[in-house]
Amino acid sequence: MRDQLRKAEARLAAAEGALLVALLAVMVTLAFTQVILRHFGLGLLWGETVLKHLVLWTGFLGAALAAAAEKHFAWEAAHVGLPERLKPWLRLTANLSGAAITALLLKASWIYFSDDRASGAELVAIGGLIVRSWVASASIPLGFALVMTHMLFKSADAAAEAFGR
């Protein structure tokens, strides 16, 4: 059971990782192209806006992977010197509480995203293509949903560890 959960989470993390690497490649290329173009007095009008929102997308995918690797900033220094048998329980508390709070943040971000979508605001025009503002703000609920999912996976893993299964 624990192995199956781990495999399922690893598949999700692999898909997130692949998307993250692709977005970072676009970001590095676009940012560098903008620098070169600027020195010739040129530039892509939409470049700056797209880059800023790409940071949000990559940031949230990175945050999802940080949850998968349990690498979010936390005050782990408080655990120094604690007996080993307590650690799975702390891990379970941290991930489960984290997932519950992230669910509240997900709900709040869904309200924000729905309002943004209903407004129909335009973010940027790339050639003839109009990109709506909600395409950018979708990163927030999606990001929180992924973070929460990984925390739930980790909670299940910690519970199995705590109960010795």
Binding site: L20, F32, V35, V55, L65, L90, A94, A108
Partner: protein, 423 residues
């Protein structure tokens, strides 16, 4: 009720709940308390995208991770040794400089001790430096480059504190050099006492080391020279550095194979994601605090007990040393929005505050008992923590002395930004 909520959050924090969740929960609770919809927290989150130079964070971090993955650390240490090793105490000074440069370019995430520690420790020991000094030096220098451009904490502070990145780079530089000079003098004294012989200078060794690092030597010039020569903005410099490092380490040196590149990208973006999600939640919390005039209330309370800006700064230094010892990136995003307006009410220059905050961060990294560098060095060199506490003590005293100087001589941090007409 609020006290109960805070006690609950403290319990969660001790259990290891991520900082972003703690801050998000607090922001949601506080907004709910004043009858504002929860999406207000997320509105602030979405403002992340409007922060100027935000793009510099992922690009510098990615470039730093690539450098750390390559053999740049070896080349850097060899070059520093060949160019400075002939001076009295020169090998230790070379190590200080190599660590400072490496930390600045790799984001000050603790990677220096892991990447350079294994090279520097045996090198210093072979020279005859005492073990305690070697351990103390490496533990301290793991964060020495935090004061030099393009270090990630400077960029993050500038984003959160709403200061221009170029100005803060310039403001932190002189205090950083002061630290480097103070530590170099200490290294010289220890070398003299331990009768450490300098390495004879060799043009051949210097030429060889320079040739080996030929593609990395221009990097500081491109980034720092590019920004202050007016060629690039900080975010453009990040784009150039990311591209340049990728070409140098993957295509020219071939230190990082193509197949390893996605892994480095993923690892670097994990740090970026962890920073941005805390930053987003902190923005939500900050907006509540500003709305409720909390910095003003803190100022009124403090001003009843502490009247002078100097007294406030002394109090601030003690507070920051404790806070920064725990977690530096979170410390920036949580503490800066609260203390910056309070400091402004005391008449303290925002740029000066930034420089001394960063210096505090640097010291916090190696402050016993919880500084991150102590744990990293303990793991890296397999030494018990108390041995490291002893080893870093003289360095800590030196750095705290430098902190006093930087705190009470604002001119040190403000001189260069004014000279460059950035302020």
């Amino acid at each position: 009720m609020t006290l109960l909520a805070l006690a609950g959050l403290a319990a969660f924090a001790l259990a290891g709940v991520p900082v972003f969740a703690l801050m998000g929960a607090l922001a949601l609770y506080l907004f709910h308390g004043v009858g504002i919809q929860s999406s207000a927290v997320i509105i602030e989150f979405s403002r992340l995208a409007s922060l100027p130079s935000l793009i510099a964070v992922p690009l510098f971090t990615f470039a730093g991770y690539l450098l750390a993955e390559s053999r740049a650390p070896q080349r850097l240490v060899t070059l520093a040794e060949a160019s400075l090793g002939w001076l009295p105490g020169g090998v230790a000074v070379a190590c200080l400089c190599a660590c400072a440069l490496f930390t600045a370019f790799t984001g000050a995430s603790g990677v220096t001790i892991i990447a350079l520690g294994g090279l520097i420790f045996p090198l210093l020991r072979r020279q005859g430096y005492p073990e305690g000094f070697c351990l103390g030096l490496i533990t301290t220098t793991g964060s020495l480059g935090l004061m030099f451009p393009p270090s990630l904490p400077i960029i993050l502070y500038a984003l959160v504190g709403k200061i221009s990145i170029d100005t803060l780079f310039a403001a932190a530089l002189v205090p950083g050099l002061l630290l480097l000079a103070a530590l170099s003098v200490y290294a010289f004294i220890v070398a003299k006492r331990a009768n450490v012989k300098p390495i004879p200078f060799s043009w051949e060794a210097l030429r060889g080391a320079a040739r080996a690092a030929a593609w990395e030597i221009p990097l500081p010039l491109i980034v720092i020279g590019g920004i202050y020569g007016g060629f690039f903005t900080a975010s453009e410099a990040a784009a150039v550095m990311a591209f340049y490092v990728m070409v140098a380490e993957v295509l020219i040196y071939k230190d990082v194979p193509w197949r390893k590149l996605p892994e480095v990208a993923r690892e670097s973006m994990i740090l970026v994601g962890a920073i941005l999600i805390v930053l987003g939640c902190a923005l939500g919390l900050t907006s509540y605090m500003i709305d409720q005039e909390i910095p003003g209330r803190i100022f009124t309370f403090l001003h009843e007990h502490v009247h002078s800006p100097w007294g406030f700064l002394a109090l601030l230094n003690v507070f920051l040393l404790i806070v920064n010892m725990v977690e530096i990136f979170s410390a920036i995003v949580i503490v800066v929005p609260i203390i910056a307006p309070v400091a402004a009410l005391y008449g303290i220059d925002a740029v000066h505050l930034g420089a001394l905050f960063l210096l505090n961060l640097e010291i916090g990294y190696m402050t016993p008992p919880l500084g991150l560098n102590l744990f990293l060095a303990s793991r890296r060199f397999n030494k018990p923590l108390p041995a490291l506490y002893l080893a870093v003590f003289p360095f800590w005293i030196l750095l705290v002395g430098a902190l006093m100087v930087v705190t009470y001589c604002p001119g040190l941090s403000l001189w260069l930004p004014r000279l460059l007409k950035l302020q």
